[in-house]
């Protein structure tokens, strides 16, 4: 068991695996999943092969995660069957699937906060001594360490999961999945919380797994990633398979009809209609009075010497690698973390003791951690929607809540962001990941702040809706909102920001002024700044 739990030492299996390449290992026959009010999956039939990376794409709420949860035994399908290696299987609980050799990285992070990294990685398959009673801590450390090193992430194995950053937590989840040494590995939007660099490391591993003859299932809303890595692509829409693509021998992705498929084709297949450029054209702010200004600001021992100023109507992008201290800085601004330095809002020097205070002076922060901080997942959509702006819907001197206007408002946003939810009273946890993100954003837009700090605005949001979100952000900026967009997705930052600051190890490492954003080497430049390389690339010299 311990030997198994370490893929590195399994070259033997890797060899054996080579033989049964491209055999159908996992077959789904007309699987249907019904939720109260929604049919998440509608008679989906699919086949997954060994030795392939099979990408699933689709709008938010298309049913991707549901499909995967069926495969990994988290939910039983309403109807339909699953065949593994030609044998029909009925998974009643995740452990069944794991034993059958199917492991999954879930879209939402599920770590045990009070256990450390090593313990989390090998949770449920600890190397043991004394007839399997005692945990062998040395071996555990070794194995976990090895797994994480493959992913190129080297952080202290003894830190508790609850102290990890979102991105780090994601790496642990991936390592957990690798540790199972499964034949079928499912990655549900692993890259959503990763920066470009981290994502690429993951892809290396995924390719290796494929070459070992395993079946890798990959879900992502970054269509470029999908095109570049997937051997086959299946598009889901409203719980049905609408189209399939596959990579031909010469390595080009084609539709069934043989025509070459690009991101555009994919997007079209997903949303069912033509998509214009998702980035709105930029209107540069005329007003120069700064809405928010930082001078030598910093989140105590997380970031230092941050100085910038955002004018009303301006959108400032903050790029940087994972852990570069953007989130901490943002959290420090709104008073969640202790801070140092000077903060001015509309000229007045001020310091917030908590988000409430920040809100009162019109500064709002959308957390990147929607599950634990951004939303109340157990509460209804409406309740979440109105929390930050309850005053808007209260009558009788702010005591009584007017449910009509409450519902009207939520309805508006649900339409505006095309959020899929059966009933407005539906619990957030029952929404698809992307739709949750839309709520997390909408609730703060509803609060009509003067300064809005958005951390990872489109984490897990599909292309269509993403465009919508950008449009609304730009729209609000035009109406005089000062907006700070923190994002690990460079195209996004470049796409909507008027100005981009690049952070590195808690400091501002460089700035890209508006005129340079247009240039095509801009993206590469940002990456170089972020990772501390000389700004001018050898090529451009």
């Amino acid at each position: 068991m311990v030997a198994r739990s370490n893929p590195i030492s399994s070259s033997a299996q890797a060899h054996k695996a080579q033989e049964d390449l491209n055999r159908e290992i996992l077959v789904v026959n007309s699987v249907t999943v019904d939720y109260p009010g929604v049919r998440a999956l509608d008679a989906v039939s699919l086949a997954f092969r060994t030795g392939e990376i099979h990408a699933i794409v689709g709008e938010n709420g298309a049913g991707k995660s549901t499909m995967m949860k069926v495969l990994s035994g988290v939910i039983r399908p309403t109807s339909g069957t699953i065949m593994l290696k030609g044998i029909q299987r009925q998974f009643t609980r995740p452990s069944d699937a794991i034993r059958a050799g199917i492991a999954m990285v879930h879209q939402e992070l599920h770590l045990v906060g009070t256990l450390n990294v090593a313990e989390n990685v090998l949770l449920g398959r600890e190397p043991t001594r004394f007839l399997g009673v005692a945990v062998d801590h040395q071996r555990q450390h070794a194995v976990a360490g090895a797994l994480l090193r493959q992913l190129g992430s080297d952080f202290d194995l003894s830190t508790l999961a609850c102290d990890l950053s979102i991105a780090q937590q994601q790496f642990v989840e991936i390592a957990k999945c690798l540790a199972s040494d499964a034949r079928v590995l499912i990655f549900d939007e692993p890259t959503a919380v990763l920066g470009e660099v981290e994502a690429n490391r993951l892809f290396v591993v995924m390719r290796r797994l494929r070459d070992e003859g395993r079946c890798v299932i990959f879900i992502s809303h970054h269509l470029d990633e999908v095109i570049s890595i997937a051997d086959r692509i299946t598009v889901l829409r409203d719980g049905k398979v609408v189209q399939a693509f596959s990579r031909n021998t010469s390595g080009i992705v084609q539709c069934e009809d043989g025509s070459i498929a690009d991101e555009g084709r994919l997007a079209h297949a997903m949303v069912g209609h033509e998509l214009s450029s998702i980035y709105p054209e930029k209107l540069y702010a005329t007003c120069t009075s700064s809405a928010i200004e930082l001078a030598n600001f910093g989140a105590t021992n997380k970031s230092h010497g941050i100085s910038f100023s955002v004018a009303a109507g301006e959108i400032l992008g903050i790029a940087g690698l994972v852990g570069s201290g953007r989130t901490e800085t943002a959290e420090a601004i709104v008073g969640i973390r202790p801070c140092e330095g000077v903060l001015r809002v509309e000229g007045r020097e001020i310091r917030f003791s908590n988000p409430r205070a920040a809100m009162r002076s019109g500064v709002a922060y959308v957390s990147e951690d929607r599950k634990n901080r951004g939303l109340h997942v157990t509460l209804s959509s409406i309740c979440n929607m109105m929390l930050p702006s309850l005053d808007k819907v209260t009558r009788l001197g702010g005591i009584m809540i007017d449910s009509q206007s409450e519902q009207r408002i939520s309805k508006n946003w649900i339409d505006a962001f095309q959020i899929r939810c059966a009933r407005p009273m539906q619990a957030i946890s029952s929404l698809s990941g992307g739709n949750q993100q839309k709520f997390a954003l909408a609730r703060w837009l509803e609060a009509t702040p003067k300064v809005l700090i958005i951390d990872e605005p489109t984490r897990g949001v599909d292309v269509g809706a993403r465009g919508e979100i950008y449009r609304i952000i730009a729209q609000l900026a035009r109406e005089g909102l000062a907006c700070i967009v923190i994002s690990s997705e460079l195209p996004e930052v470049i796409g909507i920001a008027h100005r981009v600051i690049v952070m590195r190890e808690g400091r501002i490492a460089g700035e890209i002024p508006s005129e340079r954003l247009a240039l095509k080497d801009c993206q590469e430049r940002i990456v170089r700044i972020a990772s501390g390389l000389p700004e001018e690339s050898v090529a451009s010299k």
Binding site: I75, R356, L379, S380, C383, D391, I399, A427, S430
Partner: protein, 340 residues
């Protein structure tokens, strides 16, 4: 905790769960009727049932709010006796100093409620500013408050010096037209019962329609998220414990006026468990973040009915505990199964 879907409370389940507690109630009611016939259905019996469960009911209403905020209050019983002791001592000294009985009663009552509120707020301060787990903070209160009241009255009892008015309050009620009791006098709905229902209605309204209710739920469901959403968690917490104290004060008033005395060694002993049981039977989750007052009211009635039916049907005192325990568990079990 739901086996399949990660979400703690699926909206869909709530609808069914709604009925669970009602189902449990109806079943128990049917059994009681079947078992005791008229003795149970007798309106006078109901009057007694409501009357004697009103105080714990008032506590349970407060407990519901506390539990929704992901807290708990073990000190309610002791708060009741402390508030009652202080209040009655005040009233008596006023009477002795020749204040008119009316004023004495009014002031005494006010002091009782105030004392409760202060005690509750004290709990709140420990929880919010001392950042002590509510369970342990109020466990301290459970021991401390009672022992204070013991000290006030030398562990004895304080007898009301109010000749008639105070006990009249406790005994009296609004007559129900057309009903007579066995002594041929018009049957009344005791004031305590009225207070209980009024309190419950107000609380339910606040919970579901007011912003405080909304904030309460948010804090209970996920404190961090609530803070990020700009809710002042401490303030919400503090208030809910003060409200609990206030209600304990009211319960104290109801009790002491009914007994027309306060026996410091007995009053409110162990009522915390009854209150919590009622809340949970009512479908409020101890995890916090979800709850309903009306459920608690039904829970109180269920518990009351159990004791009542046990008393009428003269089950051996030894076995009463067993029956009671079984029914509590079954009541909750019914709710679970009615969900599937």
């Amino acid at each position: 905790m739901n086996a399949r879907i990660p979400s703690i409370l699926r909206a869909s389940q709530r609808a069914l769960e709604m009925w669970g507690v009602i189902v449990a109630f109806v079943i128990l009611f049917a059994v009681s009727t079947f078992n005791q016939g008229f003795d149970f259905l007798n309106p006078e019996n109901f009057r007694a049932l409501l009357n004697s469960n009103a105080p714990v009911g008032i506590l349970a209403v407060g407990m519901t709010l506390v539990i929704i905020s992901a807290g708990i209050d073990l000190s309610v019983g002791s708060m009741v006796v402390l508030a009652a002791a202080i209040g009655m001592t005040t009233m008596n000294s006023l009477v002795e100093n020749g204040t008119s009985e009316l004023n004495a009663v009014l002031l005494g009552g006010a002091v009782t409620i105030l004392a409760g509120t202060v005690a509750g707020t004290f709990n709140g301060v420990l929880v919010v500013f001392g950042r002590i787990a509510p369970f342990i903070a109020t466990l301290g209160g459970l021991a401390a408050f009672r022992s204070m009241s013991l000290a006030i009255a030398d562990a004895g009892e304080i007898r009301s010096q109010s000749a008639t008015m105070f006990s009249a309050l406790g005994r009296g009620g609004v007559p129900i037209p057309g009903l007579l009791n066995s002594a041929g006098k018009p049957l009344t709905l005791s004031y305590s019962t009225v207070i209980f229902f009024v309190v419950a209605i107000i609380a339910q309204w606040f919970l579901s329609r007011s912003r405080f209710g909304r904030q309460l739920v948010a804090v209970g469901a996920n404190e961090t998220a609530a803070r990020y959403a700009g809710i002042s968690v401490s303030w919400v917490r503090l208030r809910v414990y003060s409200i609990m104290g206030l209600l304990a004060g009211i319960a104290a008033l109801v009790q002491s006026s009914r007994m027309n005395s306060v026996s410091t060694s007995q009053l409110g002993l162990g009522s915390e468990l009854d209150a919590i049981a009622a809340v949970v039977i009512g479908g409020t989750t101890l995890r916090g973040g979800f709850g309903r007052v009306w459920g608690t009211v039904v829970g109180v009635l269920i518990l009351g009915m159990i004791t009542n039916i046990l008393t009428i049907s003269g089950v051996s005192p030894y076995w009463q505990g067993a029956v009671k325990g079984a029914v509590i568990v079954l009541a909750v079990l019914v709710q679970r199964t009615s969900r599937e």
